[in-house]
Symmetry: C2
Subunit: 214 residues, 2 copies
Amino acid sequence: MPDRIRILLIDDHAVVRKGLVMVLRQESDFEVVDEAENGRIGLELAKSLDPDIVLVDLVMPEMDGQEMALALRKSNPDIKIMMLTGTEVDDRVHEVVAAGIEGYVLKNIEPGELVRAIHAVMNGEAYLHPDVMKKVIEMMQPHQPHPVSLTPREMEIVEYMATPNTYKQIAVQLSVSEETVRSHAKNILEKMKQPNRAQAVLAAVKMGLIKLNG
Amino acid sequence: MPDRIRILLIDDHAVVRKGLVMVLRQESDFEVVDEAENGRIGLELAKSLDPDIVLVDLVMPEMDGQEMALALRKSNPDIKIMMLTGTEVDDRVHEVVAAGIEGYVLKNIEPGELVRAIHAVMNGEAYLHPDVMKKVIEMMQPHQPHPVSLTPREMEIVEYMATPNTYKQIAVQLSVSEETVRSHAKNILEKMKQPNRAQAVLAAVKMGLIKLNG
DNA sequence: ATTTACCTCCCCCGCGCGGGGGATATAAAA
DNA sequence: TTTTATATCCCCCGCGCGGGGGAGGTAAAT
């Protein structure tokens, strides 16, 4: 069987590994090539065995799933990575997903669903557990209503403050006096409690007042 | 049947609407309550009919899907929103998803999959088409190797430039002369082709040199 | 009718900072 | 060995900008 999916398991709990093996053995096109108990060992095994996909636990001693994912991404970018974690949706979801994995499932996943997830990932898709997906989407929502309330004019000025323009140049473009712009800028810094333009712009980005890219 | 899922269709192509109606009629627990040909009309209908979920086309005249989604989110946050679009995965995916929708499917979706998607969304999950999910995940990847190469020391200085510290204060913390810091800063601005500290910091964030949040 | 919010404009001061020119030392690369 | 990159340090100049003050005018809220 040349096109069986070669799987590497990495989890610090032997029980979990055995359980996964049982589940994966049910599928005739799956082949568990090896197991490892932490990221460091798993990384070495992945490099030498070159599996199609690794199922890796997020929380592990020595080297956790996130570190391992980053390392494996660099050394063997073609190996798919499916992250496993407990039922709790970790707050590190964002970072972990950004580490460049293809799948993220919780351990309470239905066996059949796990099989489908692996197939999906091997098929070039990305598989995220519904709860994880929700979290990821939530994190890209426009940020909470800004704790600082700027007037419409001030909003306009803040946007200009994020450009290379000097206050004088901004004044010209808005057809007002430089003093007016400077006055607004002063009020903005005051409201945002920021010491200077650079910090104010950065804070505005963090608050979602300014889009980083448009 | 009190618990049928009440669906509102919004698409500027009558053919597409009819097709969707055919598909959705197959499911006994779906009920298409009405249709609309653009976002403006659809928004009014949604407000008066209060459906469980709206399927809305992304590209439409008068008011497109994104605008409508934003408006509907504000007026009726409980109504689920499933975005529809052509086979092309739009570059606006990020914005659209950030508009706060629950689902995003392409029009070439299998009917059965669409039905599952609707059920998933009604079940409180988020459903993104695999290609869309991939795109979303890609967009959270660490950015490409920076076009500007800063020396280790310069990297350090850039991070400090994103803080409220003045160059003098940075110098103290790094135990070097203020002149040294200023010198590095000058080289950084030169390399990044940025006119001032504020712009340099912003550019650094965009490039992924600096994490917005730590 | 008085207050409040907002936008507009002005002056002064002093420091931060960008831009220009250097210099010196070390270590790696050519 | 000579060049190149990196890190350190120095001086000068002038403008940008932060912080302090104040003033006038309109419009909405009270």
